[in-house]
């Protein structure tokens, strides 16, 4: 069997061996529901779409995904099991990928469990299910990018709290890089428009919003794939540098 699959299975099972998985899933479902109905005005809008639901995902992920990602490597380092893992006949890349995919699949399960809202909106009206599917895909990709950032920062420390905070901050900046809050700062520096566009192009939110409008542009998909690839590669480098201490 492929080592990535074996690591993936072990890792995914370990989420469900502790209350972590259940707490996460329940909180995620409660919060996404609450946001949609109370803050998103799901009924009041009178439109058959899931915009109020997906619109809150970036902000929900900002705090919930780092909570999943923080244990990825910090826990292995804390307990010393990283020494066991990396002396088994697996490559660093396989270990990083196996653990990341398990975390991603876990978040995917939580996301899939929001299906009642999709049933509701189909019962109430006639939404564009293509847009909804694209939004789910975009949300999953964004979750993957958050997790990859968290994986890298979790490898930097053996303290899960530090890993959590670092990940929240990094993800916050990556989210907001398309927002006036960050962009105005750079505009104030009189940077050329190209640089501003590049910074704005780094934003999770810009790409997520594009996908969740139902426009599956290859560039947006590439963006998330590259983001995930970059941060996972960075994870292997960080582990190599930091595993001795």
């Amino acid at each position: 069997m492929n080592p990535i699959r074996i690591l993936f299975r072990r890792e995914l099972a370990s989420y469900f061996a502790t209350p972590v998985a259940y707490v996460f899933i329940v909180i995620f479902l409660l919060l996404s529901g609450a946001f949609t109905f109370y803050m998103g005005g799901f009924y009041e809008r009178g439109q058959a779409d899931l915009q109020p639901f997906f619109g809150f995902h970036p902000w929900l992920y900002l705090f919930l995904i780092p909570a999943v990602a923080m244990r990825l490597w910090a826990e292995e380092r804390k307990s010393g099991s990283i020494e066991l893992l990396l002396t088994l006949p697996v490559t660093m890349g396989q270990a990083v990928l196996g653990k990341f995919l398990a975390a991603w699949a876990f978040v995917g399960i939580a996301l899939a469990l929001t299906f009642p809202i999709w049933i509701s909106v189909n019962y109430l009206g006639e939404p564009d299910n293509g847009v909804i599917l694209a939004s789910y895909l975009g949300s999953l990709l964004m979750a993957g990018a958050f997790l990859a950032v968290g994986s890298c920062l979790s490898a930097m420390t053996r303290n899960q709290v530090i890993a959590f905070i670092l990940t929240v901050v990094a993800c916050f900046l990556l989210l907001l890089s398309g927002f006036p809050l960050v962009l105005d700062f750079f505009r104030g520096l009189n940077l050329p428009q190209g640089v501003i566009d590049a910074i704005s192009g780094l934003s999770f939110l810009t790409h997520f919003n594009a996908i969740s409008k139902g426009v599956l542009d290859l560039r947006d998909l590439f963006y998330f794939a590259l983001m995930i690839g970059f941060w996972l590669y960075a994870t292997t480098i960080v582990i190599d540098l930091k595993k001795a201490d």
């Binding site: 074996i6 010393g80 088994l88 006949p89």
Partner: protein, 310 residues
């Protein structure tokens, strides 16, 4: 077979392992001795493929631990210090996971699992999660994981740490049973263990090899080697008798239990002449023993003189 060539590891300015060179053949059980922080664990971590050497190289059965890392790792069974594992997993789940990663399948997988579980008497705890196990059982799970794939090379970092005397005995018996066709390195700071399981010992301190010999040859370096110790009624009088023997270099009386020890001049055997002198002077001894040498004394002597030199 394990070979290291000028193996070194630096952390910034700190030199943890400084040009270590040795080789271990199948059938040898090498005891790795040294004070805390001497570089024992760091050396073992490099051999197991966890840390990358800063300089020099190491190979496992001809496979370089950096260049052919995967091939080397396949041949090694490694028990890290403290026997870490995944606490939330059951013992069975954990061992099956390791078996899968090690590429065992079918009959071989079942046979190897049963063998490791049997050797470490884990049958009773297979369904418990590792977090709930006692320290001794955790250590045994770590050992089971290390021997699961019947590795050619075993690297065990403090395998008996935290075990009770009975468990220590079992683990030593296990190591001895596996020693025949394997290359084994055991680190420890329990010196009696060296005698119990090792046929070779390396003492390292400050990252350097200070001694590399059989345990008995190391003991022979002790001034207690071939010394005669005894207890008798009038210790002071007996001492006067013993110091007059030609080959006796010195006689000491232990302040606590009044035990007399007669030290021989270098390379001399004094047991027969001591017995004769005692008989000639009609001295009654309660008991008398020929000392083999004390490893702990040799250990202290070697490692502290290295410290003073530095």
């Amino acid at each position: 077979m394990i070979e290291t060539r000028d193996l070194s590891k630096r952390y910034g300015d700190l030199v943890a392992v400084d040009g270590i060179r040795f080789s271990v053949q199948p059938g040898q059980v090498l005891g790795f001795l040294g004070p805390n922080g001497a570089g024992k664990s760091t050396t073992m971590k490099m051999l197991a493929g966890f840390l990358t050497p800063s300089a020099g190289s190491a190979s496992i059965c001809g496979y370089d631990v950096v260049e052919s890392a995967l091939a080397a790792k396949r041949l090694v069974g490694y028990l890290p210090e403290g026997a870490p594992s995944y606490g939330e997993m059951s013992v069975r789940g954990f061992l099956e996971f390791v078996a899968d990663v090690r590429g065992l399948s079918g009959d071989a997988r079942r046979r190897q699992l049963d063998d490791a579980i049997g050797r470490l008497s884990l049958q009773g705890v297979m369904h418990q999660s590792i977090d709930t196990l006692s320290k001794g059982f955790k250590r045994r799970v770590g050992l089971a994981q290390a021997i699961l794939h019947d590795p050619k090379v075993l690297i065990l970092d403090e395998p008996t740490d935290g075990l009770d005397p009975n468990q220590k005995h079992e683990v030593r018996a296990l190591i001895q049973a596996m020693a025949k066709d394997k290359t084994i390195i055991v680190s420890t700071h329990i010196l009696e263990e060296v005698h119990a399981v090792c046929n070779r010992a390396i003492i390292i301190a400050r990252g350097k090899v200070l001694a590399d010999d059989t345990p008995s040859a190391l003991e022979a370096r002790s001034r207690f080697h071939q010394a005669v110790s005894l207890t008798a009624e009038n210790a002071a009088a007996v001492r006067d008798v013993l110091v007059r023997i030609g080959d006796v270099a010195a006689v000491e009386i232990d302040a606590q239990d009044q035990r007399l020890t007669a030290f021989p001049r270098k390379g001399k055997a004094i047991f027969a002449s001591v017995v004769e002198a005692l008989r000639a002077n009609a001295i009654q001894v309660r008991e008398i023993a020929l000392e083999q040498g004390r490893l702990d004394e040799v250990f202290r002597q070697i490692t502290t003189s290295a410290q003073e030199a530095a």
